[in-house]
Every structure is written in C-alpha cells, then in structure tokens.
Amino acid sequence: MSVAGTVVDVLVSGLAKASLYAMMALGLTLIFGLLGVLNFAHGSLTMLGAYAAGLLMVTFAGTGVSALVWFLVAGLTAGVLVGGLGAAMEVGLIRKLYDRPPIYQILLTFGITLVIDELARIVVLFYGMQPQTDWQAALGTKPAFIADTLTVFGGTINHLELFEILWGVLTVLAVWAFLNRTRYGLVVRAGSEDEDMAAALGIDVRRVFTVVFALGAGLAGFAGALLMWDPAWAASVPLASETLLPAFVVVIVGGLGSFRGTVVAAVIVGMVDALMTYFFDHAIITFSGLPELTVFLILVGVLVVRPQGIFGLAEVGGH
C-alpha cells in the first residue's frame, strides 16, 4: 500500500475510533463536570443502550422500512430509555450522597454497574442472546452499504467508519450547541462552576443535576446504539467494562469535566489506537495488546506530566 493509502487508512480509522471514544466519554465528562460524580455505571448504561437499540433493530429491521430509519428510531429510543434510567438513578440514589465524600458516589455507581451487568446477563441468557460474545443478530441488521468499503489513494475505508465519524461529529456538535447556544446550557455551565451562586440567581440546581445526569446517560445509550453495529464492539454484557475503561482514559487525559478536553483526548487516543492497530495488523509489531498498552501509556504519561489532564482545571465539580 502506498504511503498516502496508509495515511488515509490510519486517519479515517483513527477518526472513527475517536468518534466512538468521544461518544462514550462525553456523558461521563458532562456528569462529572456538573455533579462531581464519577459515574462507574456509565459503561453499563452504554451496554444497555446497545441491547435496547439491538432489540429494536432485530424486531423491526427488515419490515420494509429502511434500516437507517430504524437505526435512528432505535438510537433515539435507546438514548431516551437509558436517559430516563439515568434520571431515576440520580433522583433515587445518587442525590442522597451529594453531601458525602466522593468515595460514596464511586462505591454506589460501582454497585449499580454490578447490579445492571448481572441483570443484563440473566436476561440475555434467558432469551438466548448469549453465550456468543457478540450479539450476531443485531450485527446482521446493518444495511448492506455500511458493510461496503471504498478505496481512496490506495487506502481502504469502511463505510461503517464514515458512519461512525458522522455520528461522532453530529453528537459533539449537538452537545457543544446545547452547552454554548442554549439558555439551559448556560445554566448547566454556571451550575458546574458555583452551585450556590447559580441557586441564588433563581436556578433550580437540583433539577439541572437530574437533567444533566439524564443527558449524560442518554449519550451513553446512544453511543451503545452506534457500537451495536461495530464488530469490534457489538452488543454484549462485557461491553460495559470494555467501554468504561477507554471512556475514563479519555476524560482523564482530556481533563475531568472538560468538554473540549474530552473531544481532543478522544482524537489523540483514537489516532494512537488506530496507528498501533495498523502496526499490529501489518506485523510491524507483533504484540497483540499494543493498542491497549499504548492507550494506557498515554494515560500514565498525562497523569505524570499534567495530572489535571490537558484542559483540566485544578479543581472541578463537587459540592
């Protein structure tokens, strides 16, 4: 393959991975930025989104309506359902611990992830979606053109990668517009800086917390819908932990609570991951864990050199 082809290959693949990482991490960083809660259940919410969207696709795709339309319906439904679950979690459980040290919230959300994962495992076993790791049925609902490839300068681009980049960009733009171009986004940014002052200006900060938690969870759910079609991820119970780790890496590297940092870190991590995957796929380096190792090396490097992350503040979130 030509050098240009290699560049195209790695660049598109990196951007696709970056899009997925950004979608996995944006909800996590929104929730931490405003509420100061490190939501360990975020990966489980992504997994639920993948299954919810997958179920809808398996049930309704192939009924004459375009699979893309169903994808939109399934993705939005997954986002709304998981967002609703997030709101219920915030109101029913997490809200009670805001005045406690962060370790309580971490333990609670870790407990929630164990419960969600076990419940999901029971349900998918009961309905025969497992034991296969990837839920092949959902993968099979992909429209044919997404499985196609195209060649640019000798490099191979999967349509699925372009699809992922499109949704990643749209999601980032939508969240940015919400935060920067709406009154509610202004309220969210103010509440994340100074809860008391925001309340003294007439803002119901607790309601904002619920909305932001729902939004963060909804983003996780929508990310799950997108992952459902990617053979590298797919709908499976282990998806919870498989997405939680990179999401945490991205938000820590970018700076906890920083929207800009999360997007930049997602691009860095996605690009490095793609480059290392290329090295491995082309037997330049034969260590199979190379992409993961490199991603975690980035995390270690940032923590040593700039512990607050690339765009992180010394202190953010909390109550």
Binding site: R183, L186, A190, D196, M197, A199, A200, L201, G202, D204
Partner: protein, 231 residues
C-alpha cells in the same frame, strides 16, 4: 410590615454555633448596613436569609411569608438578590453570559443587557471576555450589574468594597447608591465610612448576635457604638 424580618435566627456550620439569635428587620426602600468584625456572622446572616445555610431555629420572613424550609432558588424567585463576598462571578462564562443568567425568565434579555451596559459602560466593552480574566473592580461591577438586571426587591450585598483600590471603592459606592434608589438593600460592610455613607440604618453584630442598632443620620465612625469593631 417590614419587607424583611429576621427573628431570633440560630445557624450552625456543623456543630459550630455561628448565629446565636440574630434579630433584625429591613423596611421597604431602606438601605440597612450590617457591620461587625471578621467572623462574627455577617455573611452567615445573609446565607441564612437565602437559605444557603438554613437556620436551625428562628424565622426569616420576606414580605410577611416565611422563607425557612424553601430552596435558595425559590427565595431568589421571590425577589431576593445576592451580591456575594468575593463577587463569585462565573469565571468561565463571559461578562454578557453572567448578566444574561441573572435576568428573570420573563424579562427581555437584550433590554436587561442594555440596562446593565448603560449603568456600567466599561462592561459593554468587555462583554465577550471571560469573567475570570477581569480585575477585582470589574468583577465587582459585574456582580452589581447582575443584581441590577435581576429586578430584585431586596438585595443582600456582602462586603462590596473588600479588596478594592480606593478609587474603585468610590465607583462601587456610587453604583450601589444608584441601585439603592429603586431597591431595598441589606449591606454587610467592614468599611465603616462606606456603610454609613450609603445606609439609612445600621446593626452591629458581635458573637453571632445583634448588639447595637440605630439610624446612620448624624453618626460618625468614631461613635462609641462602633468601638467593638476595632476591639
């Protein structure tokens, strides 16, 4: 009936008993100064009125209705504004965004911005700058501008001159005096000349309770009632 009635309010930080029965009132249209040394409970009194530090005993009534048990945003919705100590502008929001946030939902935001910029022309030139990059004086003007556009009936103003250069203090005093023409105010201030300059009445707070009060008319800073302020 007074606009604000604080009656025998006791407030705590954890187990620390900070307010030990504060009683004061503010009539509609008045400017009342609350003076006292550091740490005697002045800021806590304002926080108790706002329900940021809810009283454990006693009552706070606004326009005849108790505020105790209500959330801070509900207190704000009733028309109580806050210009806090250290300004507390939203550092990562622009000047204009800080002002926009303070505008009540039913008010016209652009009109409110115009009013704020008319009162503080300097702010109009830096409307797009992050508030965290402003000088202390500019931040204080922004904090007062937020109070202005909030259309509050009562403003709780905490240490407006703290940490400002004398020239800036003059501007702040003038801005507060203008605001006082339409707004009732309870002003916490250690700068006694400023407090006496803008207030109609004063309360002296010591050890979490009111120990003296009176009209500011004809009162000078060397009045014996203020001796405990320098003690």
């Amino acid at each position: 009936m007074s606009l604000l009635e604080v009656e025998d309010v006791h407030a705590y930080y954890g187990e620390s008993h900070v307010l030990e029965g504060v009683t004061l009132d503010v009539e509609r249209g008045e400017v009342v100064a609350l003076v006292g040394r550091n740490g005697v409970g002045k800021t806590t009194t304002l926080r108790s009125i706002l329900q940021l530090t809810p009283p454990r005993e006693g009552d706070v009534r606004y326009d005849g209705e108790s505020l105790v048990g209500h959330e801070t945003h509900e207190v704000a919705d009733r028309g109580v504004g806050w210009i806090p100590e250290d300004r507390r502008v939203f550092a990562h929001l622009t000047v204009a965004e800080n002002i926009r946030l303070a505008v009540p939902a039913d008010d016209d935001v652009e009109d409110a911005l115009e009013r704020a910029y008319e009162a503080f022309p300097d702010l109009s030139e830096i409307g797009g700058r992050d508030a965290g990059t402003l000088s202390g004086g500019q931040q204080q003007m922004l904090a007062i501008a937020r109070g202005l556009v909030g259309n509050n009936d009562l403003l709780l103003v905490d240490e407006p001159s703290e940490g400002l250069a004398p020239l800036i203090v003059e501007d702040v005093t003038e801005a507060l005096a203008n605001l006082a023409e339409d707004t009732t105010m309870l002003v916490v201030e250690q700068n006694l000349p400023l407090a006496l300059d803008i207030a109609d009445r004063f309360y002296v707070l010591d050890h979490g309770t009111v120990v003296d009060e009176g009209s500011t008319e004809g009162v000078s800073t060397d009045d014996e009632r203020f001796e405990r302020l320098s003690a």
